[in-house]
């Protein structure tokens, strides 16, 4: 077991982990942050995307020990209290999601996009989200939600 210490959603968190434990499993099983979902566990679907030192990363492909000292933001850290962030609100207004399983990864990815490029074009949104899989929506509502959030921000 290796002790680790990292900042998750602004709070310092500590744990003792096996070297093989992924960051996703650490967040979900040890910290109880089950908003981060596992859709493939091989780095393709993007459901487990978190911000790792500010950059989107697949938490199923990152070992918890690699996150030693890092700053991690999960979907739970995108809004305060019970409210919705402007991005989340725009996603709700646009019926962006259906089953909700891919949702945390899309939110994190879109959050990162809007921080870098506050007024993206539709094509830029589509490219930025092209590494995240959604099986329910056909993506149009997700893209519309991100564009609406950009408009609102």
């Amino acid at each position: 077991m290796t002790p680790i210490r990292l900042t998750v959603n602004g709070q310092v968190r500590e744990g003792a982990v096996e070297a093989r434990l992924t960051l996703a499993d650490f967040l979900r099983d040890q910290l109880g942050l089950t908003g981060t979902h596992l859709g493939c566990e091989h780095g393709v679907c993007g459901a487990c995307t978190v911000l790792l030192d500010g950059e989107p990363a697949r938490s199923c492909l990152v070992l918890a020990v690699q996150a030693q000292g890092a700053e991690v933001t999960t979907v739970e850290g995108l809004s305060e209290g019970d409210g919705l962030s402007p991005l989340q609100q725009a996603m709700r207004d646009n019926f962006s999601f259906q089953c909700g399983f891919c949702t945390p990864g899309f939110l994190i990815q879109a959050h990162a996009l809007l921080r870098e490029n506050p007024k993206p074009t539709e094509q830029e949104v589509r490219l930025a989200l092209s590494g995240n899989l959604c099986r329910c929506t056909g993506y149009q509502s997700i893209v519309a939600g991100v564009l609406a959030a950009a408009e609102a921000l």
């Binding site: 096996e18 093989r20 434990l21 979900r28 942050l33 089950t34 908003g35 981060t36 979902h37 596992l38 859709g39 493939c40 566990e41 091989h42 393709v44 679907c45 459901a47 999960t74 979907v75 739970e76 995108l78 809004s79 019970d82 919705l84 989340q88 996603m91 709700r92 207004d93 019926f95 999601f97 259906q98 089953c99 909700g100 399983f101 891919c102 949702t103 945390p104 939110l107 949104v125 589509r126 490219l127 989200l129 092209s130 590494g131 995240n132 899989l133 959604c134 099986r135 329910c136 929506t137 056909g138 993506y139 149009q140 509502s141 997700i142 893209v143």
Partner: protein, 784 residues
């Protein structure tokens, strides 16, 4: 007497924001993998690496000594704990059922077949122990094709069945088929096939089973489309009384037909929990999901159409073969629907249809969104082949053959009434929205410049719920509604949403019918102790069946509440109404009696014996709805593509939908269902295939191999709603979940076929990845 709220005040028909979203958008959803129980153990399965083999020996000794391992169940031990009968296939009414066990004992029948269940303190420990299990197999020839299934020299996958033919051929004839073909100017023949692909919900299968030795009750937290169906199967296979099994479901990460009842693995986890008296959780990983959860759609058809030179389709002969995969599944159950639906909204007066089911060493055939969709694919592809052969425009051939509402007999040759059908309007509307003549000019110009543009249309209907059955038994969908002491209305349904927003849409209907605000309605799902009977969400039956049941149940509750209020206030019920959460009407003191106050006073009056006998004070009403007059969903899709003759890549330039799904409950939810279905159709045609090699090894077990459409593959989809023809006095909602996935594949294939027509390529299959397109265009040799 019912006073309808004026349309402006109604929730039904407007895009009310989803109740589900605040939790799902903040990471507070609760899927099975998010639930932890004290003492919870984790399951992992040891699976066959062979497609077809005898299991000679299974040595679990080393695995049992591995750290964290609590128990290992092999096939024989699991057979001792469970019943082989009572599974999903029997519930589907399959006639020819082989004998098999939950976990394999003497034989494995596909790659991934489970041979042992390991239960350990952590998932990683369970998976480590699986690696320590030693199994010895004697390989048998794999049966991977129709020819091999018919080859009597190959071993029967199920020895007790004696062959690899599951059923058929069984032939049914409707109308004068011989006469139709005798009268035909021409017969158009083709062999048209659909490839194997699959549901792929973002969340795989999952169960958390918790047996309580004190109460003798097993509680299963399931990812399921219907808690009652899951309970029936778990109880039957564990040989427990139904009332000792409780199934709970919360958020579910999609399903699309996959998560019905309980799979062999899920039942095995329930058995393990009962045996160990500890909670056991199994979260299917993606490789398991892609390899063994189930696959769909592998069907082939030899079709003949009897046509006139003017393009009238007089009749069809169809021979269908369905690849059922290894274990009994959904295949036998869909044949009757494919057969009944294949005439679709067209007038053809004769049909001969036969079907054969084969068994192969592949994953079991499961329901996938519009499971009978091959009827639309085959018919709509065939119509384009007819048009091409006759030199007619495909739209014209459709218009010539589509049923008209004022022309009897308004009925499919297979029986169902086509009352209220708007298929022809949908195609006409499409010709207004899309300028076909102009496109043909653009296409000609592009062709002259060496570019391949194409347009495709397809028209369909979907029984959602379909016409009211002319003879009983009719199936009922139940909804129970109750008024709580806080004035909120609870609506209980056996429907189990997994993305369809049922908790929003049922509340819209209930709020309108009862007379409270949308926020005052709570929709209760996912608990066999609470929800009424009913198999769950599927078959696009929610809108009409559950929506209708909710409408009538909340109306009935309203009547009951008004009668009670009338007793308490000494007024006539007909003078009262419920508005914004209060009973109002002439003579009501204070301008209105708030519902919480009404409930309190009713309880007091009942306790004091002041309510006359016969007055219903239960504040609860149930309604079992048969779908009313029913009716069809359906419409026309149109797609424009460009095919790159160098790369074989298909670009979707435009995608239009004209649809009729009855009265819309929530337009944004409806459009989400349509777009999601179309996206799956795009995936099916251009990307997705569940591929095996000739030895039965599965080749598509990761997302690098099984390709799902992404944001750059799915275009914006333009949706136009057609005004529906109301058939029922009260309920004209129709289901819309499956249509997109039913009609998108032929729409896209027709567009691709149109694009590559100048090369002589003939599209007779559904899967058109770049390599296949280049083969069809003659750019590269066929790989065979």
């Amino acid at each position: 007497m019912i006073t309808q709220r004026p349309p402006a005040e109604r929730f039904t028909g407007s895009s009310v924001k989803r109740t589900e979203d605040p939790r799902l958008l903040t990471g507070r959803g609760r899927y099975v993998a998010d639930i932890r129980l004290p003492g919870m153990l984790h399951a992992a399965f040891c699976r066959s690496p062979h497609a077809h083999a005898r299991l000679l020996r299974l040595d679990t000794a080393a695995a049992r000594q591995a750290p964290g391992v609590v128990a290992i169940f092999d096939g024989w031990e699991m057979a001792r704990l469970t019943s082989a009968t009572g599974g999903m296939a029997e519930m589907m009414g399959s006639e020819r059922l082989p004998k098999y066990s939950l976990l394999c004992t003497d034989k494995v029948r596909l790659v991934g077949d489970p041979v042992a269940l390991v239960v350990a303190e952590s998932r990683a420990q369970a998976e480590d122990a699986v690696e320590l299990i030693e199994a010895e197999y004697e390989e048998l020839p794999a049966v991977m094709s129709e020819d091999q299934a018919r080859d009597a020299s190959l071993p029967a996958i199920f020895e007790d069945l004696g062959s690899n033919i599951l059923f058929g051929p069984d032939q049914k004839v409707f109308g004068d088929v011989e006469g139709a073909f005798a009268a035909a100017d021409r017969v158009v023949r083709a062999r048209i096939s659909q490839h194997r692909h699959q549901n792929v919900p973002m969340e795989g299968r999952a169960i958390l089973a918790a047996f309580d030795r004190a109460s003798g009750e097993l509680v299963a937290h399931a990812a399921t489309q219907g808690v009652n169906t899951t309970r029936q199967i778990v109880a039957a296979q564990l040989q427990m009384p139904l009332d000792k099994v409780r199934v709970l479901a919360q958020d579910i990460g999609g399903s699309f037909g996959l998560k019905f009842g309980a799979s062999r693995e899920e039942v095995a986890c329930c058995a393990a929990s009962r045996e160990l008296a500890r909670p056991v959780r199994w979260i299917e990983d993606r490789m398991e999901n892609l390899t063994v959860s189930g696959q769909a759609r592998e069907e082939s058809f030899i079709v003949e159409a009897a046509v006139t030179t003017a393009g009238e389709i007089l009749g069809m002969r169809v021979e269908m073969v369905i690849d059922s995969g290894a274990y009994p599944g959904f295949a036998p159950g869909i044949i009757s629907t494919v057969r009944e639906m294949i005439p679709g909204p067209y007038r053809m007066r004769a049909l001969s249809f036969s079907a054969t089911g084969i068994i192969t060493n592949k994953a079991t055939y499961v329901a996938y969104r519009g499971p009978w969709a091959s009827e639309t694919f085959v018919r709509e592809r065939l119509i384009d082949l007819v048009a091409a052969e006759l030199g007619l425009d495909p739209v014209e051939v459709r218009l010539r053959n589509l049923a008209e509402r004022d022309q009897p007999p308004l009925r499919m040759v297979t029986g169902p009434s086509l009352a209220g059908i708007t298929a022809k309007e949908s195609l006409r509307r499409m010709t207004e929205l899309f300028d076909f003549p102009r496109f043909r000019e653009q296409q000609a110009t592009a062709r002259a410049a060496g570019r391949y543009l194409g347009v495709g249309v397809a028209t369909y209907v979907e029984p959602a719920p379909g016409p009211r059955p002319e003879t009983p038994p009719t199936e009922l969908e139940w909804v129970r509604a109750s008024l709580g002491e806080d004035g909120t209305v609870s609506v209980f349904t056996a429907q189990m949403p997994h993305g369809q927003s049922h908790q929003t849409t049922l509340a819209q209907i209930a709020a309108d019918q009862f007379g409270v605000d949308f926020d005052q309605v709570r929709v209760v799902v996912g608990d066999t102790d609470q929800v009424p009977e009913g198999f769950g969400t599927g078959g696009s039956r929610f809108a009409a069946m559950a929506g209708g049941a909710a409408l009538h149940a909340t109306r009935r509750l309203r009547t009951q509440v008004l009668e009670l209020a009338a007793q308490l206030l000494d007024l006539s019920p007909s003078s009262l109404d419920i508005r914004d959460g209060a009973v109002v009407g002439e003579g009501v003191p204070g301008g209105g009696l708030p519902l919480p106050e009404l409930v309190r006073r009713a309880n007091e009056a009942a306790a004091a014996g002041l309510i006359p006998p016969g007055t219903d004070t239960g504040l609860e009403a149930s309604f079992g709805f048969d779908g009313g007059q029913g009716g069809w969903s359906g419409g026309t899709h149109c797609c424009v593509v460009e095919v790159d003759h160098m790369s074989g890549k298909v670009e979707l330039l435009r995608y239009l939908v004209v649809e009729d799904c009855g009265e819309l409950i929530n337009p944004a939810v409806v459009e989400g269902q349509i777009r999601g279905g179309v996206a799956q159709g795009i995936g099916a045609v251009l990307l997705e295939r569940s591929a095996y090699d000739e030895w039965g090894q599965y080749l598509s077990s990761t997302f690098m191999d099984y390709l799902l459409p992404t944001t750059t593959d799915v275009p914006n989809i333009e949706i136009h709603h057609l005004e529906t023809v109301p058939l029922d006095q009260d309920v004209n909602f129709r289901g819309v979940g499956e249509g997109g996935m039913i009609v998108a594949p032929p729409t896209i294939c027709n567009a691709v076929a149109d694009a590559i027509a100048p090369t002589g390529g003939r599209v007779l299959e559904q899967h058109l990845p770049p390599q296949r397109i280049l083969e069809l265009m003659g750019a590269i040799p066929e790989r065979g």
